[in-house]
């Protein structure tokens, strides 16, 4: 059964960091990467992300599916940008160096290529970090981490519960789908798309109804054990921050500052090699 949170238990310094610190680092890192188009910084972050990945001892094959998925997304994203706005780079960098004329409005300019390089770098420096967080954070610690960085504990716990119940719902889905297939619900390609969509409802309705029963049980069970009694709650799996947690958060904080400083010095969010 595939879990949304593909926690892979290994022994590494990154696994040993607390979930809350990792979450904070993830957010800071992403902000540093997203706030500007400073090509050198993005390239450096990409290299650093790959190095961190090595340190975490997560192998590429552990995450090949998610990696493939996000890289496909990156390519689609770039293609769409080009299709919709082929002169976007020109308007940003203020110059136009035509390399190749295609057809109609589609020309390839050095500025546009450079812009795409930057977009790609944003993906390559953040995706590994997101995957790293997903693979090295014990799901148990996740809710506690969210709560620690300021999300209300009710919402944090809702996330934890979702993690708890995803495998159950998956199991129920398979069982219901089997029983409904036996009643003649066609889920294979033999049926047309509209037919299949209709058939999905024959599985989803019982799934939702039986999940409602579960929700009733679980909410009673939670209230009976005092959930929602106080404004704050503690967490069994919370851990105090260690030296590495502080250092990592400081480094990631510094990255944000660096990105902002670069923007200020540059006078723009874009590093421009064309002037």
């Amino acid at each position: 059964m595939t879990n949304l949170f593909n926690y892979i238990e290994r022994s590494s310094p990154i696994h040993r960091m607390t979930g809350a610190a990792k979450l904070a680092c993830l957010l800071l890192w992403s902000f540093a990467a997203m706030s500007g188009f400073h090509t050198l910084l993005l390239a450096a972050l990409t290299v650093a992300a790959v190095v961190l990945f090595r340190i975490s001892r997560i192998r590429v094959k552990d995450i090949s599916f998610m990696l493939g998925f996000t890289f496909t997304f990156m390519i689609v994203n770039n293609l769409l940008i080009y299709l919709i706005s082929p002169e976007h780079g020109v308007s940003i960098y203020g110059s136009r160096t035509v390399l190749l004329e295609l057809f109609g409005p589609y020309v390839i300019t050095a500025e546009q290529l450079f812009y795409h390089l930057n977009v790609a770098l944003k993906y390559t420096c953040t995706i590994p970090i997101v995957l790293l967080f997903i693979c090295t954070t014990d799901p148990s610690e996740f809710a506690a981490s969210l709560n620690r960085i300021g999300v209300s504990y009710r919402i944090s716990y809702a996330v934890a519960l979702a993690l708890r119940y995803i495998p159950d719902v998956q199991r129920a889905y398979t069982e219901i789908a089997n029983a409904q297939q036996a009643r003649g619900v066609e889920m294979s390609k033999k049926a047309s798309l509209i037919e299949r969509l209709k058939n999905v409802s024959a599985i989803l309705i019982p799934l939702i109804l039986s999940s409602m029963e579960r929700i009733d049980t679980i909410s009673n069970a939670m209230e009976l054990r005092g959930f929602g009694k106080n404004k704050k709650r503690s967490w069994y799996s919370a851990r105090p921050f260690g030296a590495w947690d502080w250092i990592s958060m400081a480094v990631c904080g510094a990255l944000v500052v660096l990105s902002l400083v670069l923007t200020a010095l540059n006078g723009s969010r874009f590093f421009n090699p064309f002037v």
Partner: protein, 570 residues
Amino acid sequence: MDKDIVISFDKFGFQYTAQAEPTLYDINLTVRKGEKVLIAGPSGCGKSTLAHCINGLIPAAYPGRIIGSLTVGGRDAVEQGLFGLSKTVGTVLQDSDGQFIGLTVAEDIAFALENDGVDTAEMHEQVKKAAALVGVEKVLSHAPHEISGGQKQRVGLAGVMVNSVDVLLFDEPLANLDPATGKQTIQFIEEIQQRTGCAVVIIEHRLEDVLWRKVDRVVVMGEGRIVYDGSPDELLCAGLLQSAGIREPLYVTALKYAGVQLTPEMHPAFLPELQLSDAQKQQVREWFESRPAPAEKAQTPVLLQTQGVDFTYDKGHHALKGIDVTVRRGEMLSIVGTNGAGKSTFSKAVCGFVRPQGGSMMLDGEDLSSLSIKERADRIGYVMQNPNQMLCKPMIFDEVAFGLRNRGIPEEEVRPRVEEALRICGLYPFRNWPVSALSYGQKKRVTIASILVLRPQLILLDEPTAGQDLAHYTEIMEFLRSLNEQGVTVVLITHDMHLMLEYTPRAVVFHDGRIIADCSAAEVLNSPEIVAAANLKETSLYHLSMLCGIDKPEAFTRCFIARDQEVRGK
């Protein structure tokens, strides 16, 4: 006021906001420290409502009008509120899986402490202690699906005991457990009570299973009132159970059939202490010898035959190890065994939900392996345990017609076939009703009708009576029996030993992916080796026959069942 009283209902009544009539009337009940009280009664008698009043879900989660008073731990229950009561009353719910909140055992036990904001280091200590108390300290880091049903229930108990409560309230603790685990649970509740001195309140309609260990008092409820409150011995002699819709322990019924006059001095409520005089034992023996041996059914042609069916899940779990089963036309048989023994996997293999890696399955001479799920369903009907997992149409007629319409059967043929299936299931008057207006038992019948309409030769039901009281159990099982008499072959997967004894002449016992017994249900339950290996529970008739010096417990059991059917058939 008496300091020992932990729960006290005084002229208490309750009416749910959404209902026209009160659910509880004039309840007067006290529970003292260290007492063990069983509250029994059929579905809808108000026993769960009573439990919800004690733990505060009423009125917090289920609003309504309260009259009279209820004090818990000497203070008014409503004033304390749900959270206040949770410090005094620990509730273990029926659904041990559904109430498992945490991602791991440790987190689940810690849940109440987390909500109190207990410091993490101290919490770890307390969790360890509570886990050790209930014996789950070795599985603290396990996820819920990695532990057994019995362990889950222990975790649930540990989760409320971290609050050091005075009352432990068990809401139908046996409903989802296999017989042996249920037996252990009852014993375990007793141990915990002795160790902690808590008052224990057990809500359960399976009287015999709870009485396996001593209880101080039994409270019987019926239609919102307490109809009996006293010692279990007197209850069994009073003959009140039948009218209250609760099943008597089998040995008690057997003694009555034999004409033995029960008195409280004989201690009929606790089998190990049951006192029978030599004359009474003689009476039982004579009754047994006077009964005609039940007739054997003639053998019919083979319908389903599996040979060497072998299946291993992707993750490497070897679930079926060479299963050979023969089901004859017109049979009604039980498949029993622990969770994970392979019963469900076997039924999935027969229905085509999983594809065995080895062996063969023939239905009526036709090889099943070449048929798709849908094609098999025309021959073998599968009914899931929870009807809500099957119902997908708002109206009953459409629900039953669903399988036919999916198969492209013309509408003029659909109508008579659906109506026929509804008639067989006793649902014809409801054909234009919405499904949501039906009771659980009726919904179950709708799902059976929706399978029968496909005219399968064999129908396979997963736990058809789980969680049902005697009346609903009887309704569902009598219905299945009548189907069987009309020629449908019925295979039941069950944990219910009564069901197996009463309704299925034959039982197939699964254990660890193999079949360890395939014989009469009475034989299975009178064989201590099979009972132990497959986590079943010996019937009390076995012990009774031993007590009376009858050396053929199996024949005695069959003789009892035959007599019981005569009596109940009337």
